[in-house]
Symmetry: C2
Subunit: 234 residues, 2 copies
DNA sequence: CCAAAAGTGTTCACCGTACACCCATGT
DNA sequence: ACATGGGTGTACGGTGAACACTTTTGG
């Protein structure tokens, strides 16, 4: 860190969120419709400029997430993704955007923001293939978020943060299949997951919602890392 | 991104570097001695406030790296590490620091900075164990940098960026051993590395600098990812 | 009874580890 | 000759992929 503070230009710092969920058999991302120029009417990541001069950026991200989802941030997974600072990414002025990645379960309600803005789920496929109009450099950010999610669930238990409190082995497998875009063998998947100590804790309950033999229900255990890792085919 | 630009507080944006090298059988990090308060006389990561209003943050980091090392940034590995923005991390004012991680070979000369500041190599062990006085929250940043380096060389060819242009298999193995802090079997290491296509290209030359049978010299090939990964023991 | 989903057991190929062994140099 | 480091061959144990097979429900 250098001492020439006299050269500091006028830079705005924003905290943006890439909130992912699995919904309707697809990986979806939370986007808000912009009300004003630039990019009015287009979709953008939820977020805002750094609010309080004494607020930690991690805390600011958690607050935003809570506002947008209506959920308490404690239970949700939130991690810093990357910072984007290309000049011209916002046509109004220089904006440095610190982006966070969050995984949330399929929420019962599509969520109305804490303030009046509308937040809605958009399939990642639509956002990336251009059939949804995405503002700023947010397509690039969504790409990075998805890639991070894909690799993160390989070696952590975070796939379970896309599931409700109780879920079946098949629920969890579907999460993997949807995020990775590939089929997994249900039998080998079952064995691999149960071999990870403290990942899934059986509740004793069973459900028969998919027809066929009833499946055991699980809750998340204390494990956070997958040993051994569950690798996707490349 | 939200529209209420009227709440933007006065925030300074810094770009800092965690430059790692392997030198004297140890992982070392480039630190500069601070000339002024706060933390005058203590060591800190090289870096500076965002210089040019039209300069990309990635470019700013590359420029800093070039200034500090005297090397052209093109050949060096440089990636964004994380952004640190806790309030109070700089006692003077709110500073958001975007940190970059660089891997450089053991430079012939300990490097005098582009401007007059002195940059020097400090063993990471000293910086982390407190026998070197490190300013701000930079100990935490160094921890993150080292952990990133340790895991990065597991699945990429980046360990070679710590080596000079031509190197032996043993040179490369020493890099791994020093960064991971564990011994590796030279014979299995040799076979694993040579089995990765396009990683190492033999120059045809041999060296006998360590005594014993002369070792083949290699250059880096075009490969960037290790398939299969080279995992450290845990 | 049959379909469908859950869950178990078994086979087989491959990969990492450990280590015996041979090669090529300096002294 | 022998010490030193470079490099190859091989045996063995563990893991992942594939898949046959059994279990438990609904229709």
């Amino acid at each position: 860190m250098v001492e020439d503070s006299w050269t500091i230009p006028d830079v705005a710092v924003a905290v943006d969120l890439a909130v992912l969920t699995v919904r309707d058999e697809a990986l979806q991302i939370m986007l808000v419709e912009r009300g004003i120029e630039p990019y009015a009417g287009m979709l953008a990541l939820p977020g805002g400029f750094l609010f309080d001069d004494a607020e930690d950026i991690d805390v600011a991200a958690a607050r935003e997430l809570s506002e947008e989802t209506g959920l308490t941030p404690a239970v949700l997974h939130l991690e810093q993704l990357r910072t984007y600072g290309a000049p011209g990414r916002d046509p109004r002025r220089r904006v440095i955007s610190i982006c966070y990645l969050a995984f949330v379960p399929d929420l019962p309600d599509p969520v109305a923001g804490g303030d009046a803005r509308r937040a809605a789920w958009t399939p990642v496929k639509k956002a990336l293939e251009g059939s949804a109009e995405v503002a700023f450099d947010h397509v690039r950010i969504i790409q990075d978020a998805v890639e991070r999610a894909r690799s993160k669930i390989e070696y952590t238990t975070l796939a379970a943060s896309f599931c409700p409190a109780e879920f079946t082995m098949t629920d969890l497998r579907r999460i993997y299949e949807i995020i990775w875009g590939q089929q997994l063998d249900p039998r080998n998947f079952h064995r691999k997951i149960t071999s990870v100590t403290d990942f899934l804790v059986p509740t004793g309950e069973r459900t028969t919602r998919y027809g066929g033999r009833p499946a055991a229900l699980y809750r998340c255990g204390p494990a956070t890392l997958l040993h051994p890792a569950l690798l996707r085919a490349r």
